[in-house]
Symmetry: C3
Subunit: 259 residues, 3 copies
């Protein structure tokens, strides 16, 4: 297997990409966007039957790095907000357009983009200790990764708005009963249970896997691309305003480190 | 704040409209349609960040007033059934087209239109003592307030049909697990808990609230308007038939007062 | 009532069709497709207000008969795979296009097509002992009966993929909480409870039942027909390949009789 240690689009970070028997295992923090895109591009064309996302340690994904963001926004707000929105748009489209199954093994807290992306994965197994939060309004932002489109469809607007407007925190069990998570697995045997299930999936014929995914995603692909587009346009408007930058700054000052 | 005591479109009723710090609080029985529409028109253009619906007493909403209905239908069936369907269409469109978040605080039983309207609200908090029922077929009616469109999308047809065809009654917890309700709150502290959450929402920048709502409602608005249209056409056909009027009469004779 | 004992499209089987007071009761194994289609065609035009599906014994439906399938496929793969897919397409369209309510009383295990069809029914009551499984990938097949379209809409992709890709088995309670089942009823009184509810539904005016169903299915009918079309095209491609036939053979060799 190959290990890449690299400078991400937004910050120095490690991700580990293991090409295993029948699948590609990406271990890391989701927001190292360019690296993940490149690992997915490779997995799309090699003999991987699926991609498995996971993370090392106790956290799944903390979402975007706002400290890095704010530094760029203070530089040249208009230009940087367009570039940042564009980066997110491309990253999210990589998930929307991926033809092989994407499995997420959520080992711990999944925040912001890290939680919003889950409905663009095909199967989501969560450690019973994981939790989920999309506190977009807390830092004055609108939803991304198509969450404004996928969350209402999965759980109805009543629940989706609580998550996306009120930033309600969900336990793994709650996320499962709302349809964000396929199944909750026990902490002690999480990795083994995930690997057992991956083995079963990898035993399925590739054609069947890809035809099944194509059938299940058929009607939603262009709707997702449009939702992604609309969300990124909204982010540009918000990041491009002085009020938007202020909200992020205020959030950074009062937040306690979540993960 | 302003208190209006008024003759509603259908019956003498009180509603209380309080313009509070950052939001408009409408307390009353939902079916005083014209008054609610006018309060919402005001809230749409003033500095209210959201509208909060609630009710005084132990009941949230008993739905349409059938005694009043039947009196009008016996007068001139064809003409009155068209006028009544038109009133409902306009009222429901007020909810569909409202650009600021609508929050419902369901303090007690929500019946018929009062339950059907909930998916057109953005956040729904329910008192643990509340319950929900849409017994349309019991009085020979088809669904309204887009329930025939929203219920199947929120909970699947299997559950939606039980509610809309069989008139199954749901507890607050059941309504929550089916996605009609965002969260169930304890009776003792219901109002305080609602106000606490409203304060948090009102602290969010208006632009972010409206952009978020626009993103989440984007693809459904015209579909909802069409569903409303189709439902009102069906109601006209049913109310306009002698069988339709008979069904309501029979219902009124055998019903026990629910609330 | 009439009892027909007949040679089905695929195998000798009994189904019992009882025309009862206000409804048509079809008792049998769902995959005797031609017989069911003909019973539904009759029920569509007679005075039945609804169709009730059930089964005699402890099993609801075991899905397609693969032994019979494989015999035909070994005969003339290209020709037979087209004919078989066409048979399924027509059968599934009978459900999609049926204008009166379809109720399913799931007395026991529902597998493959028998589980996949449930979202095309309007109300689904399940015996607490029933269970549900769609192990398509286990025999190298892609979903049918529009499950690739309906399952993600009802429960979200995270759950739908676990059922359709990983073949996860659901208890009646799990199927209910995911929205496949309207309500779970106790084994001891299952039939009585179903009949009680059927009586209530049959008391509703036919016009109201049909207008309600039309409203609730309005936007999905052509989308379902297209999903059915796409699924059958995928089945033709898979059954038409030597790999597809091999997968079914391997499955038949290693499977333990499920029901």
């Amino acid at each position: 297997f190959s290990v890449r240690q690299t400078e991400s689009a937004y910050r120095y970070r490690d991700i580990v990409v293991k090409k295993q028997d029948g699948f590609t295992h990406i271990l890391g923090i989701l927001f190292v966007m360019k690296e993940i895109q490149s690992a997915m591009a490779t997995a799309a064309s090699d003999d991987s039957k699926l991609v498995l996302f996971g993370a090392v340690g106790s956290v799944f994904c903390c979402g975007l790095d706002f400290l890095y963001f704010i530094r760029r926004l203070t530089d040249d707000r208009k230009k940087e907000s367009i570039k940042m929105a564009e980066t997110i748009r491309t990253f999210v489209n990589t998930f929307i357009q991926f033809r092989k199954p994407i499995v997420a093994a959520v080992n711990g807290p999944a925040l912001g983009l890290g939680a919003a992306l889950l409905p663009l994965c095909d199967v989501v197994w969560a450690n019973e200790k994981a939790w989920f939060q999309t506190p977009y309004t807390a830092y004055g932002q609108t939803p991304d990764a198509c969450a404004s489109f996928t969350f209402p469809r999965i759980m109805g607007l009543a629940s989706a708005n609580e998550l996306l407007l009120s930033g309600r925190k969900l336990t793994a069990q709650e996320a499962c009963s709302k349809g964000l998570v396929s199944q909750v697995l026990w902490p002690g045997t999480f990795t083994q249970e995930v690997m057992l299930r991956i083995k079963e999936l990898v035993a399925v014929d590739s054609l069947v896997l890809q035809e099944s995914k194509a059938l299940m995603r058929n009607t939603s692909r262009s709707a997702l691309e449009q939702a992604n587009e609309r969300e990124c346009e909204a982010l540009k408007r918000i990041w491009g305003s002085s009020q938007g930058t202020d909200s992020i700054l205020q959030y950074l000052q009062r937040r306690t480190e979540l993960c």
